[in-house]
Amino acid sequence: MTDTPVVRRRQWLTDSRRTHLFAYALVVPVLLLIIGLIAYPFGFAIWVSFTDRVIGSVGNFVGLANFEYLSRNATFGAAISNTIFLVVVTDILKLGIGLGLALLVNQQLPGRGLFRSFLMLPWAMPAFVAFLTWRVLYQPVGGGLNLVLTQTGIYPHVIDWLGQRPTAMPSVILASVWRGFPFWFISILAALQSIPKELYEAARVDGANAWQRFWMVTAPGIRQVVLVTALLSSIWTANAFEHVWLLTQGGPSDATMVFPVLAYFGMQTQRIGEAAAVSVSMMPVLLVLLFAVTAVMQRDDER
């Protein structure tokens, strides 16, 4: 009778269980960190978006009232279309520039290392410095771009780059692409360097021309990296605040209004329920993007 508990204990704590418990014990700290730093703020933001919470008050559950309010707001509609347009166009341009430069720098060129470092400068520069510099360049009077255009006689009139609807969004896109293309460049370059040279030699032996070698060897080799880069870049661009804020503050009118700036305006008036609703509204789009990229990558892995 006195041995029974010992026997039971031995039966419960088997080697397998001990291994599992040890594994769980190792995972727990990370799990707690994820819950504390990601899951809780994430869930809290979603909860707040369903409340009328303002700074200094707990707020009450108001259902979809914040989303209904936003849907009636013309600026919210502009923020949706502007954010999507900004993300898509900047990603395409960054892909084109990043891929082109990566293919160029991947060749055996003199001074290649220096050139690579030089291309990383926009990425290394603090965002606020970069965008404030662009703002100065765009100044109607005394701005670098207008000086170049007028002094060279290319265009004799001053252009209000940031102050009029037709040029405001292209100006923001240009500055964003300049700042963001190095990330694409370095990611694609790394992928290019991981493609075995033998594949290109075999393609040459088979008579493949340059385009065929790119399409049949290079493109599949960098596909996964491009997908991941596109995902990250899209999320960063969609959530970026400083490029629009420092250049146009969402204006003129709502020509460059994007989700983060709209959420910031909500915070300025202490209505964090509405501000959270703006941020939460963007989540479905990003989730669809996330699942699509993940699905494509999984399919690639299974092949």
């Binding site: 303002v54 700074i55 200094g56 109607p140 305006f265 008036t269």
Partner: protein, 441 residues
């Protein structure tokens, strides 16, 4: 070189004189303090001061608080914060429970946050300070009354600002204009007369920043109203607003606004004026101070006047700056004692000379700063005595403050001049957006 040396000497002299005066005061009060009990001895106070354009004024505030702390056995910590970041800092502090014991803030923020019981009531202190110095100016008294939203007064005014019209006399006199424009039409006419790119006539902001809200004053001077007399229903869609928009569109079409004014940040008009690119701006006077320090010639050629009038007169709102005590502070009495000390004439005499604020108490009108020698301070005194209360003729309540924080009027203006919307469509959007805000209160 001589001028620079002299200016440096003046600044140093001001600081030294200020320090001597304050030290003398402290010596007097510290004698009192050591002779009596130090009721707040051993406590710690954190104070968030709002940075203003004058470094000397900022330093004087910090030094005065530190010296008060030493005299009273209170350990003080002064954190000077950029006033553009006050909303974010205070919001984060409220949510995280890390509010300072006392702070400087704008009336808008005080009005919005007082609804959440963020600040301690200051009625007794407010009355005591007012009675000791000839009473508060009526407009200040009315504007800072938070009784309706907080059950008492939560802000202690310490300075008033507002927009003056700054004009380039060299350009305007050359064009035959010797006096300030009396009406908005005259303003556009004068601006058009000197409009010669790269110099633009009329440097008013139309962007989504505080400066853009000057357009609300223009609208109101044309007879337009944000809301009804009860301050509950938005009435921005009106014939008066249409008249205002007609004036604006006409001025825009004449090309008198500087390029980029629809996306200026808070410093946009300052930079344009200081770089000589515009003949007029509406500004608190900080630009004049900057010109005095950095561009004496521009300072010489700058004149100050009240904002022009519309069909219903001049709307020139006063913007009081206030100090408040956090409701969560463990040292509220010590914080209130500090605020009372900072309201004493001995400190404010010196502070007003350096800061760009008008007086808030009747007794302060006799301070040296407001003797008329300095045109900026004279203009601010005039503004406090003749200007309109915040929001006037509208009711200044939390909904109005929220409405202004959402820049509904400059956005409406942008719809007309940037997007080319017709007046009805622009007014409809402003009406709906404004009513949605008012419905929350």
């Amino acid at each position: 070189m001589k001028t620079v040396h002299l200016r440096g000497f003046n600044r140093a002299r001001r600081i030294v004189v200020s320090a001597v005066i304050i030290s003398a005061l402290m010596a007097g009060t510290s004698g009192f303090a050591t002779g009596q009990d130090q009721p707040y001895s051993g406590t710690q106070l954190t104070y968030w001061g709002g940075l203003i354009f004058s470094e000397d004024a900022n330093q004087l505030l910090s030094d005065t608080i530190a010296q008060w702390g030493e005299a009273n056995g209170v350990q003080t910590e002064v954190v000077m914060i950029n006033q553009n970041e006050t909303v974010q800092r205070v919001s984060a502090a409220v949510e995280s429970g890390t509010m300072p014991d006392a702070l400087d803030l704008s009336l808008d923020l005080l009005m919005i946050m007082s609804r959440q019981n963020v600040f301690a009531p200051l009625d007794e202190l407010y009355n005591r300070v007012g009675e000791a110095q000839g009473g508060w100016y009526g407009s200040i008294d009315l504007a800072t009354d938070t009784t309706e939203v907080a059950g008492g007064r939560t802000g202690l005014p310490f300075g008033a600002s507002g927009n003056l019209l700054l004009r380039r006399t060299d350009l305007l006199e050359a064009a035959g204009f010797d006096s300030a424009p009396a009406t908005w039409e005259e303003l556009v006419a004068q601006a058009e007369a000197v409009n010669a790119p790269p110099v633009s006539g009329l440097g008013l902001a139309l962007s989504n920043v505080g400066d853009g809200n000057v357009q609300a004053s223009v609208l109101q001077s044309f007879g337009g109203r944000i809301a009804n007399d009860a301050g509950e229903n938005v009435t921005i869609k009106s014939e008066e607003t249409r008249t205002y928009l007609t004036w604006l569109k006409d001025a825009w079409d004449r090309g008198v606004f500087p390029p980029g004014n629809a996306t200026w940040d808070g410093a946009g008009d300052n930079q344009v004026y200081l770089s000589g690119q515009t003949a007029f701006i509406a500004n608190t006077g900080s630009v004049g101070i900057a010109a005095r320090n950095d561009d004496p010639e521009l300072y010489e050629f700058t004149a100050y006047s009240a904002l022009p009038a519309g069909p219903t007169g001049t709307i020139s709102p006063i913007t009081p700056q206030v100090r408040a005590v956090s409701a969560t502070s463990d040292n509220q009495q010590a914080a209130m004692a500090l605020l009372e000390h900072l309201s004493q004439p001995e400190f404010l005499q010196e502070y007003y000379k350096l800061a760009i604020y008008g007086p808030v108490l009747q007794g302060q009108a006799g301070f040296e700063a407001f003797n008329g020698e300095d045109p900026i301070h004279a203009g601010l005194l005039d503004l406090v005595q003749k200007g309109t209360a915040p929001g006037y003729p509208d009711v200044y309540n939390s909904a109005y403050a929220d409405f202004m924080a959402n820049f509904i009027v400059p956005k409406m203006a942008q719809r007309v001049v940037i997007d080319g919307w017709d007046f009805d469509r622009a007014m409809d959007e402003a009406q709906a957006a404004g009513q949605a805000i008012y419905d929350k209160y």
